[in-house]
């Protein structure tokens, strides 16, 4: 793919790679925020900057889709949107900590943030390999594995909130936070699905 790739495609894949780096940075920051909350709650501001950066990259990608590309436009659009969703949901999670006046983290949220950071790193790696025309299958397998892990943690975390005698405020705030973390991880899996489609077409 890379041998016959136009400079336009190269620029587009470069933007996806940049988006992947932004996703990875967001995941890392959210993990730090969650494990070192509330002492480092200012990291939420850095995540907001990542979210704004993600919007810019997505806009650039969509702008370039109008100029003709060997990549399927539908796939490229879906990929850009899913990458943007990862960062959006991560930013929503970070914002919720302040919005809901969270006093302390939950272990399950730290675990989910760890899973997200891992999935985001795999997304970045896959997009980098895609740009260079290399095999991305092991990254996709890793993203699916992490998504399953995230599902398990999230289900158990939400179930734990509904044990008898729990503060209703704790239920309200953490159910939302667990769900936004899970949605960020699910978006990584959506990225993996789109990349699988792109890979199939590339080798088809």
């Amino acid at each position: 793919m890379n041998r016959r790739r136009s400079s336009h495609d190269d620029a587009l894949l470069g933007l996806f790679e940049e988006s992947g780096r932004n996703v990875e940075r967001t995941g890392t920051l959210l993990r730090e925020l969650m494990t070192e909350f509330p002492e480092r709650s200012t990291l939420a501001r850095d995540i907001l900057i990542c979210e704004q950066e993600g919007d810019r990259i997505t806009h650039d990608i969509i702008h370039r889709l109008g100029n003709g590309t060997k990549l399927d436009r539908g796939d490229a659009y879906e990929l850009a949107r899913a990458l943007d969703d990862v960062v959006d949901f991560a930013e929503e999670t970070a914002d919720s900590l302040e919005l809901y006046a969270v006093e302390a983290p939950m272990v399950q949220a730290e675990e989910l943030a760890e899973v997200l950071a891992g999935a985001a790193a795999a997304v970045r790696s896959a997009l980098s390999l895609l740009r260079h025309g290399d095999d991305i299958s092991s990254q996709l397998v890793e993203i699916h594995r992490l998504e399953n892990e995230g599902d398990r943690i999230s289900r158990e975390a939400i179930a734990s909130l509904f044990k008898s005698g729990t503060d209703p405020m704790v239920v309200i705030r953490w159910k939302d936070i667990f769900e936004s973390l899970e949605q960020a991880i699910d978006s990584c899996e959506t990225v993996a699905h789109v990349l699988e489609g792109i890979e199939l077409k590339r080798h088809g």
Partner: protein, 283 residues
């Protein structure tokens, strides 16, 4: 569990004009477990006039729920609980040895009253009864319990360089406030009252936050960290809160090298833990 609670904004009621009885400083916190709405309404009105804080429960709560209410006493109609009444009584007597228990119920046999008192109830009153008598008996129970423990809830606790004053919801080092928030204070006060004993995280959370702790909640750890940091700013040579990994926390003042204070004579050490009143009487 159906519940009506009255968290009245009450002023301390040092003297009751209606009963003519002096009560302890600070309002009594009381739970009434009874579904007799007429009786409860009249009792609640009188309790409100006394400036007490009370909750009315129409079904038996779990012991942990009673614990989290931080009440001094409970008035319970055993008839409401049916055959489970004795079991409930045993459970709360076991779980909450510091809680005053007044059984206020309908006609009963001598054997039933003896059984109730032997299980651990402090007093028994038969309906119909006057609410003022119920109130007077609760006062007597609470007064007796405070006399037995010898410590009033508002008495300052002194440990190392730290003075913990429940009447001001604050802790001081050398007379200087260490600027604890309400929750930080409650956590420190709870640990200090249980000095030398390891309190589990769940137990701490239940007391301070008033709810069951969700598995994985780090609130207790975070607040212990905050309290430690605030104390350390004013009392850097002492360690007060010790971590018991996987269990919880224990309050015990020690100097930074892990040794008990070398300059403390046994007498001074002994006096350090007493309330000002006890110190005065000891002298």
């Amino acid at each position: 569990m159906q519940e009506h609670s009255t968290v009245a904004a009450f002023a301390p009621a040092p003297f009751s004009s209606q009963t003519g009885v002096r009560v302890q400083p600070g309002p009594i916190r009381l739970a009434v477990i009874d579904s007799d709405t007429g009786f409860v309404r009249v009792l609640a009105k009188r309790i409100g006039e006394m400036g007490w804080q009370h909750r009315v429960l129409t079904a038996p709560p779990r012991a942990e729920e009673l614990l989290s209410m931080r009440i001094h006493a409970v008035v319970v109609d055993l008839a409401l609980l049916g055959p489970q009444g004795w079991e409930f009584l045993e459970r709360i007597c076991d779980a909450l040895p510091g809680l005053g228990i007044l059984i206020c119920t309908g006609q009963s046999t001598v054997a039933q009253r003896v059984r109730g008192l032997r299980i651990g109830a402090d007093d028994w009153i038969t309906k119909p009864c006057h609410p003022q008598e119920v109130i007077a008996r609760v006062e007597a129970i609470v007064r007796r319990r405070k006399r037995t423990t010898g410590v009033t809830e508002d008495a300052p606790l002194v440990a190392g360089e730290l003075e913990i004053r429940a009447d001001q919801f604050q802790a001081f080092v050398g007379g200087q406030s260490i600027d604890l928030t309400r929750r930080e204070f409650e956590l420190l006060h709870l640990l200090a009252k249980a000095r030398g004993r390891v309190l589990e995280r769940d137990e701490i959370y239940q007391h301070v936050w008033g709810y069951a702790m969700v598995h994985g909640d780090r609130s207790v750890d975070v607040f212990v960290r905050k309290v430690r940091q605030k104390i350390e700013r004013f009392s850097p040579d002492w360690r007060y809160i010790h971590t018991h990994f996987g269990i919880g926390y224990r309050f015990e003042p020690e100097t930074s090298d892990g040794q008990p204070p070398s300059d403390a004579t046994p007498d001074a050490d002994e006096l350090r833990d007493q309330t000002p009143d006890e110190v005065t009487s000891a002298k």
